[in-house]
Amino acid sequence: MKNWQQGRQARDARIEAGAKLAKGKIVAASDATRLMEAVIGPGDRVCLEGDNQKQADLLCRALLGVDLAKVNGLHMVQSGIVLPEHLDLFDRGVAKRLDYAYSGPQAARIARMLFGGKIELGAVHTYLELFARYFVDLTPQVALIAAVSADHDGNLYTGPNTEDTPTVVEATAFKNGVVIAQVNEIVDKVPRVDIPADRVQFVVEADKPFFVEPLFTRDPGAITEGQILTAMLAIKAIYAPYGVRRLNHGIGFSTAAIELLLPTYGERLGLKGKVASHFALNPHPALIPAIESGWVEQIHCFGSEVGMDEYIRARSDVFFTGPDGSLRSNRAFCQTAGLYACDMFIGSTLQIDLQGNSSTVTTSRIAGFGGAPNMGADARGRRHPSTPWLQAGREADPDGSALLRRGRKLVVQIGETFGEKNVPLFVEKLDALALAEKLKLDLAPVMIYGDDVTHIVTEEGVANLLLCRDENEREQAIRGVAGYTHVGRSRDRKMVQHLRERGVIRRPEDLGIDPLDADRSMLAARSIKDLVRWSGGLYAPPSQFRNW
C-alpha cells in the first residue's frame, strides 16, 4: 500500500524535534541555532525571508551557526541576497544551491562566488516568477520569516512591511512545510492578524527589531538640474499626451524629480486629475507633496518605507491599511498590480543597447532583477482596455484592425546620457552579455527587453520607439537621444533629423522646454525637511537622511 502521507509525517517529525526546544511555540533566541539543527535536514529547500527591505536577520545568523554535520547543502529559495550572512551560508557550506531574485548590496560578491563555483545557481528570477515557483517546483520545506510581533498562540503581525511573508507562508504551510518566525516582541494580543497561528510552528523573540533598509528614500537635495530636465520632458511628452493615470515609478532620482514636479510643473500644465492618480508603488517620501496637493487617489505598496508609517496611517484614503490603521503591503499582489493594472512603468537603468535592451549588470556585479521586469513588461494576458494602453497600441500598429489590436503598456526608460563618473548610459553591447558568456549562463541577465520598451527619455529628448517601423529606425531613434556618448556621436544625422520631423524624436525645444528653465526651485520640496513639512510632521525620516 503506497504511503500518501510521507510529507505530512516528515513535517510532524520536524515539529516534534523542534518542540523539545519550545515552550508552546516560543523558542528562546539563544536556542535558535539548535532549533535550526532540529528542524532542518541536509539538502532541504529553505526560504530565508529577505527581500530588498526587511530581513529575517536573527534566523539567518542562527542558520549560519549550525553544526555542518547536521545541516548542510541546503537549497536556498529566497527573494533577496542582501545581508553578507546570506552569502556566508554558501561560503561555510550550510547552503549549496540558490534560486533568488535580487542581490543589490551583494552584487559584487555574489558575482565572484558564482564565478568561483561556491554557489550552484538555479536561476535569477523576478519576484513574481520566484513566488510562482514556490507553488510549482520550488516549494520550501522550511520557511524562516520575520514579523513585528506574535501572540502566545503564534498569530503574527507583520506590520507595514508585510512584503513577501503571506506568499512564503502560503506556499510552505500548506505543502507540509514548517514556518519559523522571528518577531520583535511577543505580546498578549497582536494589533492585527496578518498570519494566522495555525500556519506558524515556532516563534523566536529577537533581541532587536529586524533590519529594514530605507531603499526608497531619495533626498530632494541631491536632484540635479539634468534630472529635472528629463522629468519635465517625461511629463510633457508622455504623461500628458497619453493621460497616464495608473502607473509605477522606479526608485531613481529622475522619477523622484517627476514626483516633485507634479504639484508645480504638472499643475501649471493643467494635468492634475488627468495623470498620475493611481500607483502600484512603495510609499516614496518624494510623493508626499503630490499626495498632499490632491494628485494621488490610491497607492498599493510592495512594502513600506522607513519613517513613513505615521504618515500612511493618517492618509488611509490613499493607502491600503488594516483595521489597526497601519499599512498592509503585499509584494506578490502589488507586483501583479504593476504588471496587469498599470498603463506605464518609468524607471532608470545602467545600460541601454542599440536595440533598447537594458541591464543593471556590469561585468563584475550581478544585482538581480527584483520587480522591475514585471513592471517594465507588456502583459500579454491583459484584456481590459484603457486610453493610454489603446493609444500606445495604435501608435505601434496604426494599420491593424482596431478590434483585434493589442494595446501596449508604456515602458519608459529615463536617464541622463552619462551616469556617475562619466559612464555612458548607451552602449553597443551590454556588459550582461559578457557576463553571461563568462558564467556560461543560458540567458543574459537583461532587465527590460528592447521589444517591451516604448520610450527613452534623456536630457537630449524623448524617443518614441512605438513609432519606429523597422530595426534601423529604432536604432537611430535610440542614437538620436544618446547625446555625446559614443553611441550618440555615431548617429546618422540625416536620419535622426528625419525621425525628429516625424515626431519619433522630440527635442526639448520641440516640446517648448528651455533647458535653462530646469531649475531646482521648480521642485515642490528641495530637502528631506521640506518633505517633513509637507507631511505636517508625520514623516519621520531616518537619521542618515537628516540635516537637522
Partner: protein, 105 residues
C-alpha cells in the same frame, strides 16, 4: 589635468553688451565657465583645463554643437572643469551666453 583649446568662426556676434560673466563652480562633475567679450565679432575661442583626461573628442563635439546653436561671436570662454558630463558642459555654456546677452547692470 588636460588642456584643450578650440577656435571657431561664429555666424554672428553674441548678443548683449556685457563684457564678462562667470557661471558654475569647480567641483566633481561640475565646471566653471568664464566668458569674456574680447575677440573679433565672428570669432569664438574656448580654453579648457579639465580633470577628466581623454575626452577631447567629446569636447570637440560639444563645442561644435554649442557654437552652431548659439553663435557666440566675439566671446572667449575659459573653463575649469572638475570632470563634468557633456550635458552639464552644454548647460553651463548656454548659461554663460545667456548671461552675456543681458545688459550690464
Amino acid at each position: 589635468m588636460e588642456d584643450l583649446s578650440f577656435h571657431h568662426q561664429a555666424r554672428a556676434r553674441a548678443g548683449g553688451t556685457r563684457q564678462m560673466a562667470i557661471i558654475g563652480v569647480v567641483a566633481s562633475g561640475n565646471l566653471e565657465v568664464l566668458a569674456e567679450r574680447v575677440l573679433p565679432e565672428t570669432e569664438c575661442r574656448l580654453e579648457i583645463k579639465t580633470a577628466a583626461e581623454g575626452f577631447g573628442e567629446v569636447w570637440d563635439a560639444v563645442v561644435a554643437d554649442f557654437v552652431e546653436r548659439y553663435s557666440p561671436g566675439g566671446l572667449k570662454f575659459s573653463i575649469n572643469d572638475g570632470g563634468a558630463r557633456p550635458d552639464t558642459v552644454s548647460l553651463r555654456l548656454a548659461q554663460a551666453v545667456r548671461l552675456m546677452a543681458e545688459n550690464e547692470q
